[in-house]
């Protein structure tokens, strides 16, 4: 056995075998498949899935409700009540003319007598002889999109010129529907936040667990000259990857399930139950906004995972010297 520094070249006992092409494995310095790892990824996947479901649901309600709302808000009606002393048809024509003069009104369409009667049917029962009844008549006014015209002049004009007419801008209904929809959206948002908080919590616990489980590794890294920054980065990188993997998986499943549900419900749509569901929830086909939301949530979860784990690691390192 030779002393390496004096003999110039070492004479290892296994001969001068050439080095293998690459010794680099670039293995992470923090063990990847440690106890908490897989569990954390699974949990993040689950939470992302739930968050995506909640967000998707809220988005669905938001979309449908904004449709309803704009539909309803765009439709203003004038009701002309019959008055024995006046000709109802003349009154209706007059009201239509007044409405058409108002700026912002796209269209004003009187309901014919039959149409008006059909509207009353559910409330007065079928088979009623409407000839006996002085049925009030409706004028449906469609507003230009995005415009909210001032109705005071129209109201005033109607009052003066068509005493039996009244203008209904559905304000009450719009506000009712808004409250309902906003409540549902609010609940959805709260659930999403809850789930994100849960994800953050889970990551915190998992990180602390992993740090405790890898205390040896942290110690060794310290001893061989790594500073806290280096160690925190190593841990954070690992957790960010885990988080990304978990959230991508969860979001993927959520997207898949939504698409599937969309197909299933579109085949249901003919059935009466399907009608009810669709009336309630809209069609299950989520808009591109919904998909975007799911992707955003997946990203948010991954980012939360990265940030939370970094903070946790820093705190752990500071606490434990």
């Amino acid at each position: 056995m030779n002393d390496p520094s004096r003999s110039g070249a070492p004479k290892p006992e296994d001969g001068q075998r050439p080095l293998p092409a690459s010794l680099r494995r670039n293995a992470p310095l923090v063990p990847v498949d440690s106890a908490g790892g897989q569990a954390l990824a699974a949990v993040i996947a689950i939470l992302t899935f739930l968050a995506a479901l909640c967000a998707g649901g809220a988005e669905l309600v938001a979309t449908s409700s904004s449709q309803w709302r704009s539909d309803i808000a765009r439709e203003v009606t004038i009701q002309v009540r019959p008055n024995a002393k006046r000709s109802i048809d003349a009154d209706v024509d007059r009201a239509v003319a007044l409405a058409r003069q108002t700026p912002g009104v796209e269209q004003a369409q009187p309901f014919s007598k039959t149409e008006s009667e059909r509207l009353l049917e559910p409330w007065l029962g079928t088979g009623l002889d409407f000839n006996d009844l002085p049925v009030p008549r409706l004028i449906v006014i469609k507003l230009q999109e995005g415009l909210k015209p001032d109705f005071t002049t129209l109201r005033q004009a109607l009052k003066e010129q068509v005493p039996g007419a009244s203008l209904d801008d559905h304000a009450l209904w719009v506000s009712r529907l808004s409250t309902m929809a906003n409540t549902i959206i609010g609940i959805g948002t709260v659930l999403v936040i809850l789930v994100l908080v849960a994800a953050g919590l889970a990551v915190t616990f998992a990180t602390r667990g992993a740090m405790a489980g890898n205390r040896e590794v942290v110690d060794v890294l310290h001893f061989v000259g790594a500073n806290d920054d280096f160690i925190a980065k190593e841990f954070q990188r690992r957790f960010f990857k885990l988080g990304l993997r978990g959230s991508a998986f969860g979001a993927g499943i959520a997207l898949f399930l939504t698409t599937l549900l969309g197909f299933v419900t579109s085949s249901w749509r003919a059935s009466p139950a399907g009608d009810q569901i669709e009336a309630l929830f809209g069609s299950f086909s989520i808009s591109w906004r919904g998909y975007l939301l799911v992707v955003l949530i997946a990203l948010a979860v991954a980012v939360i995972t990265g940030v939370v784990s970094r903070l946790t690691v820093r705190r752990f390192l500071n606490e434990n010297g």
Binding site: L29, F223, G225
Partner: protein, 239 residues
């Protein structure tokens, strides 16, 4: 070998620095509420010196090394490393100090998920060095300690002695200013122990202060150097 080439540099470098590598003054330490494990330690480890640290099991050898490593705080007394008082050292300075020290732990402390090669290269990787710059050196050292064909194995499948040699290689690879080795030959046969001792001696020649904690009188008898003997918590020095 690279070591030969840098020898001259080290030789010049150490002539100037007169401060001892390690200096203890009236140091005492206790764990928690227990009795003092070590008390009234006053000694220095000079630059470029070689010494054994011995004493019965449980005497505090490992504790003394951990004091130098700053992984245990003394309950009283003063410790200075490379001329610097370490009582209120910042985290960055601590990292710098640790990069000047190499340690062989009694229980090896290899990272189980890295190969032997990666374990040995770890201190260099942590310092941000490029792999190309240290690769040959690491392989050379691994071959010297007889792990040339164990390079790509993970520590859990190494034999006890192989782990120990990997731990030694990891401590030597950075050519530290101070080497602390805790029972570095407890798991190898006497002839391999001699070979490893030669490695430590060579490192010492290149300018490193070496402290070897050991029970092995066979090993100590091979070298006529200073012995720090711990007993009953106190230090007794055999020059």
């Amino acid at each position: 070998m690279v070591w030969g080439r840098v020898k001259a540099f080290f030789d010049n470098d150490f002539e100037e620095s007169a401060a001892p590598s390690v200096h203890f003054e009236n140091v005492g330490v206790r764990y928690g509420m227990g009795p003092e494990v070590l008390r009234d330690l006053t000694f220095s480890i000079e630059p470029n010196s070689f010494q054994f640290l011995t004493g019965p099991s449980g005497a505090g050898k490992t504790t003394l090394l951990r004091l130098i490593l700053l992984s245990v705080k003394p309950t009283r007394g003063l410790i200075s490393l490379f001329g610097e008082d370490v009582s209120r050292i910042s985290k960055d300075d601590l990292t710098d100090l640790r990069r000047r020290m190499g340690v062989v732990f009694q229980d090896f402390r290899l990272l189980d998920h890295l190969t032997t090669y990666e374990n040995v290269a770890l201190p260099l990787r942590v310092q941000g060095k490029e792999e190309a710059s240290y690769r040959n050196e690491v392989v050379e050292l691994l071959r010297w300690v007889g792990l040339g064909d164990r390079m790509h194995m993970l520590p859990p499948v190494l034999s006890g002695g192989e782990k120990q040699r990997a731990a030694i290689a990891r401590a030597l690879i950075v050519r530290p200013d101070l080497l602390l080795a805790d029972e570095p030959t407890g798991n190898v046969d006497p002839s391999l122990a001699r070979r490893l001792l030669r490695l430590f001696i060579e490192l010492n020649r290149l300018g490193t202060s070496v402290v070897i904690a050991t029970h092995d009188f066979g090993l100590m008898d091979q070298l006529n150097v200073r012995r720090l003997v711990l007993g009953d918590g106190q230090l007794h020095i055999d020059e």
